[in-house]
């Protein structure tokens, strides 16, 4: 045992150094309607930035609940701007929206994170991450204490989000997550997280609003939120190309409460190694797609030999096939095993999916509070009607 505990750190050391092989981004705007133009602009700005820093569209999940570019109230049809100078059209001609309109729901978001999707879901709409993927999760919209509203119709709670992340961790679906949220009382949204290796940051504390930066008088509404604006300012002016060596610490230090008008929060405690390690992560570890490429050594010398090899392999395969055809005694067995698996599959597909259920909270204190409230209300009612009858 001693031996193994001595060697384990050696083996784990490279893991701690943290190598990821792919970067994913989940960018979610959750609000509809024209006056929420800025939320869409927030998300599109982030989308543009991560794309510029090298994350391919196939690894970006973009959720847009409304189409501001084609809104009849848009004075500049087909465009979305995040600045009153209108220098940069965020909509451009090359954006790939994965979930749009009424597809942006709490359920779809949780399904995306936990990958519990239908079999016919295209790969581009799935988060196909593994234990070597870093994920950037950016959310913006209208929120409150421990919830974030989706589409003015439903809300996701901090508990649901925390549970989704914990399922991802159990299934080894991420290496590290950077969770960023720009909404009112944003910091409450990450307060319930409990899975390791999540670095979380939000725009405002509990009971604080998150403000918009400025409005464009011609567009007629606010075009970007302050927190996002200053994040973008850092990313656009400091992180100029994928070779940037700036760290998350640099990004967090750039937050200026005077400018943001709220208190941005950062949560380090879930991160393995705590604050120091989390701060030393490169910005490019989450916003870019930098991999350790391996340059092949030297030229391609012995081509003739390779050709010979290929021919030999071909001969070998022909020979193997011939032998395989002669002796087919291994095959039936394996086929049998496959068949064993099938009936269950068929039955499963027959079974219909039930409706989702809401559950009881397990904490007793909450139960009691709830029951007491109910009883109190009932008591009031009872007392009222008692007085009335006398």
């Amino acid at each position: 045992m001693k031996f193994s505990s001595a060697i384990l750190p050696l083996l784990l050391a490279p893991f701690a150094a943290g190598e990821h092989t792919s970067n994913w981004a989940v960018l979610v705007s959750t609000s509809r309607f024209w006056f929420n133009y800025r939320h869409l602009a927030n998300v599109l700005s982030l989308y543009r930035t991560v794309k510029r820093l090298g994350i391919p569209d196939s690894q970006i999940i973009l959720m847009l609940p409304d189409d501001m570019a084609c809104n009849p109230r848009n004075a500049f049809p087909g465009t979305v701007y995040n600045n009153a100078d209108r220098a940069l059209d965020l909509y451009g001609d090359n954006i790939e929206v994965d979930y749009r309109g009424y597809e942006v729901t709490v359920e779809n978001f949780i399904r995306l994170m936990t990958d519990r999707v239908a079999e016919d879901m295209p790969r581009s709409k799935r988060l196909m991450t593994d234990e070597r993927s870093n994920i950037l999760v950016y959310m913006t919209g209208h929120g409150g204490n421990e919830f974030l509203k989706f589409q003015d119709a439903e809300e996701i709670s901090a508990y649901d989000l925390a549970d989704a992340f914990s399922q991802m961790w159990e299934k080894k679906r991420y290496h590290e997550i950077l969770f960023m949220i720009d909404t009112c009382q944003a910091n409450t949204m990450y307060s319930k997280f409990y899975s390791p290796n999540i670095l979380a940051t939000g725009s405002s504390e509990i009971d604080q609003s998150s403000y918009s930066h400025h409005a464009d008088n011609d567009v007629g509404v606010a075009v970007i939120d302050r927190y996002t604006y200053y994040n973008l300012e850092f990313l656009e002016t400091q992180v100029r190309d994928p070779t940037s060596k700036l760290t998350m610490g640099d990004l967090f230090d750039s937050y200026d409460e005077e400018k943001i008008h709220s208190h941005p929060g950062i949560r380090y405690d879930l991160f393995e190694g705590g604050e120091a390690v989390a701060r030393s992560r490169l910005v490019m570890d989450f916003f870019g797609n930098v991999q350790n490429v391996e340059v092949d050594k030297g030229g391609v010398g012995n081509e003739a030999q390779w050709r010979e090899e290929l021919e030999a392999i071909e001969r070998m395969i022909v020979e193997a096939k011939r032998r395989h055809n002669v002796t087919l005694n291994v095959q039936p067995q394996t086929q049998h095993v496959v068949e064993e698996g099938k009936p269950a599959q068929a039955r499963q597909s027959l079974k219909k999916e039930g409706a989702m259920r809401v559950d009881e909270e397990s904490g007793w204190s909450k139960q009691i509070v709830g029951a007491a409230t109910l009883l109190g209300c009932a008591g009031l009612w009872f007392a009222g009607s008692w007085f009335e009858s006398h």
């Binding site: 060697i7 050696l10 083996l11 490279p14 510029r52 820093l53 090298g54 994350i55 391919p56 196939s58 359920e107 949780i110 936990t114 519990r116 999707v117 239908a118 196909m128 070597r132 439903e154 508990y159 649901d160 549970d163 914990s166 399922q167 159990e170 299934k171 100029r240 190309d241 991999q291 490429v293 391996e294 030297g298 030229g299 390779w306 290929l310 392999i313 001969r315 070998m316 395969i317 067995q333 394996t334 095993v337 496959v338 064993e340 698996g341 039955r347 499963q348 079974k351 999916e353 039930g354 989702m356 259920r357 809401v358 559950d359 009881e360 909450k366 709830g370 009932a378 009607s385 008692w386």
Partner: protein, 573 residues
């Protein structure tokens, strides 16, 4: 209460009011007059039974229905088994490799040689989970093939699929002996010896036996290291059996595992030709693939399947965020810096990852630079190709290679594609995680099959463990029966796969482990296991109170009233 009674009650005071002016009523009389007429016994019981029946409906029907419809169905899962698998308590993978020895010797001598070699081999082996078992091959005469030679009671040697390596002992007169030669295209090790090196029956060791043992140890060293690494990373339960790996080896293995794609039953290969100009606009990719890549893919067919597509993209420009190539006077070439290589692929604009099929996509990009920017090389090493871990490979085909004529015209011939295809196939080999050693390809592929089987068993077990964790941690998630079925199937197949490993039938183990992995994934990613699980108590009150309040108040009030009157009646008696 029937309304007629009520009418009677209201009319009663009027009748009584008539005599009132003649005789002033006493206080008692007023009180008496306000009393409703006494209720008949029958109507009293009718009212009580009505209240009782309402309560009976609520308690016997309403409550169970509410309970039933709001309860979350959770199928029973064998949580303990799942956790045990994940912790590696049930299956300790072992890799008994069978090695057949063909010796042109009398049986007695051959057995003795075998014994001494086995001894030497066991002494060399530090990794108990992976051991080589020597045995005598079948006599070459095909007539005897039906008579199976039974070695230690349980296995037969007839199915040659399960023999990892055969050693042929060949007596020679000349040259340095003993010497060995590993056949590159069949799992056969030829060992040349002179007859006097056969150990006499009395001796306990011999140079020939030691030589064979060392050769075998060398051949399987990398496999042992890979498996040891896998066991050590998979779970803590195996670490006691672990072979000590040097830090360099473990770093190298770590690098390899970072580079290699995760196992999938099907991979999709995309070969893309990108050029910043309009030429070349065609390539003879079909025949190039048939000649250069197909044999390799076929040889992997026992482990994974492949689908292939190709594309040509003209006028493909670099991403604006990377530094443009610079001209290097010394090399007489345009150069790319190594840091920029990971940004070489213009992910925003180049249409890669076509999202076709089920399996992961492996990309191979052939870039033909503009003639004005050619030759294009990597600055530090002068190489023209690189590998991107778990993604694919890139090769640059320079139209004007130094010392060659321009090979690029409007279309690329099969011959021109040769070097690039060679690069791609090397990259594919390392992306699939094929070990570099030993030199015999079939041996390497069978090594890969073993490694993959073990890693699939581990990943399936860890998925089951994750499912058990989720089941326990989130009591509000519904778990349908299909999940329980998949879990049972996965567990059964895992057990079978583990048994196959122990028997040394690795191909079977791989297939079973693949099914187990599939079932485990299906169980974990069951579509209906998503709930918006958290509902604050305020919401519950808000939902139930308006619904139940108006119903509950009359019910409760009536029950209380009746209880009170019942009690007072009892007391009065």
């Amino acid at each position: 209460m029937p309304p007629s009674e009520g009418a009677d009650a209201s009319s009663a005071p009027k009748e009584d009011a008539k005599p009132s002016p003649s005789s002033p009523p006493s206080l008692d009389a007023v009180r008496l007059r306000k009393q409703p007429p006494p209720e008949g016994r029958e109507s009293l019981w009718r009212r009580r039974s009505a209240i009782f029946s309402f309560w009976a409906v609520v308690l016997c029907l309403g409550l169970p229905v509410w309970w039933k419809t709001t309860a979350i169905y959770r199928a029973d899962l064998p949580l303990q088994d799942m956790t045990d698998w994940a912790e590696g308590k049930i299956c300790k993978p072992v890799f008994p490799l069978r090695i057949a020895v063909e010796a042109p010797l009398p049986p007695q001598d051959a057995h003795h040689l075998l014994r001494t070699t086995q001894h030497a081999l066991d002494d060399l082996n530090e990794f108990s989970a992976h051991h080589l078992r020597l045995m005598l091959a079948d006599p070459p005469a095909p007539a005897n093939a039906s008579q199976q030679v039974v070695v230690d009671g349980t296995r037969n040697t007839s199915d040659d699929e399960d023999i990892a390596l055969s050693i042929r002992l060949i007596p020679v007169e000349t040259g340095a002996t003993p010497r060995s030669h590993l056949q590159p295209y069949s799992p056969t090790l030829d060992v040349y010896y002179t007859p006097n090196q056969i150990p006499p029956p009395s001796s306990t060791g011999s140079p020939l036996a030691t030589f064979i043992a060392h050769e075998l140890h060398k051949i399987f060293a990398e496999e042992q290291a890979q498996l040891a690494y896998l066991l050590s990373t998979a779970s803590g339960g195996h670490s006691s059996k672990m072979k000590s790996l040097s830090p360099e080896t473990s770093a190298e293995l770590q690098r390899q595992s970072t580079r290699a794609l995760k196992y999938a039953p099907t991979y999709h290969l995309t070969f893309s030709l990108f050029t910043p100009t309009s030429t070349p606009s065609a390539w003879d990719i079909e025949s190039a693939l048939r000649q250069y890549v197909a044999p390799l893919l076929d040889s992997f067919s026992a482990i994974s399947n492949f689908t292939v597509d190709t594309q040509v993209q003209l006028y493909a420009t670099f991403s604006p965020s990377i530094r443009q190539p610079e001209y290097d006077e010394a090399l007489k070439a345009w150069t790319l810096r190594k840091e920029d290589l990971s940004g070489f692929i213009n992910a925003a604009e180049w249409p890669l990852s076509p999202s076709i099929g089920k399996g992961p996509t492996v990309n191979f990009v052939l870039y033909v630079p503009d003639k004005t920017q050619s030759p294009l090389l990597v600055k530090e090493s002068g190489a023209n190709s690189w590998l991107i871990p778990q993604w694919g490979g890139v090769a640059i085909l320079n139209p004007t290679a130094p010392g060659k004529d321009a090979i690029v015209s409007a279309s690329l011939t099969k011959e021109a594609l040769g070097p690039a295809m060679h690069t791609f196939s090397n990259q594919l080999i390392s992306l699939l995680g094929l070990p570099q050693m030993p030199s015999s390809l079939p041996l390497r592929i069978s090594t890969l099959a073993r490694v993959r089987a073990a890693s699939l068993i581990f990943s399936a077990s860890s998925t089951l463990g994750a499912l058990a964790q989720v089941y326990q941690k989130l009591p509000s998630i519904p778990v349908p029966d299909s999940v329980a079925k998949s879990v049972d199937l996965a567990l059964a197949h895992l057990q079978l796969a583990c048994d196959r490993l122990r028997e040394g039938r690795f191909q079977g183990a791989l297939e079973l482990a693949r099914i187990a992995e599939g079932e485990a994934e299906k169980a974990f990613f069951e579509r209906s296991m998503v709930g918006q699980v958290y509902f604050p108590d305020e919401h519950k009150v808000a939902v139930y109170l308006p619904l139940l309040g108006p119903v509950a108040v009359p019910l409760v009030m009536a029950a209380l009233k009746e209880l009170k009157s019942g009690l007072s009646a009892l007391r009065g008696r």
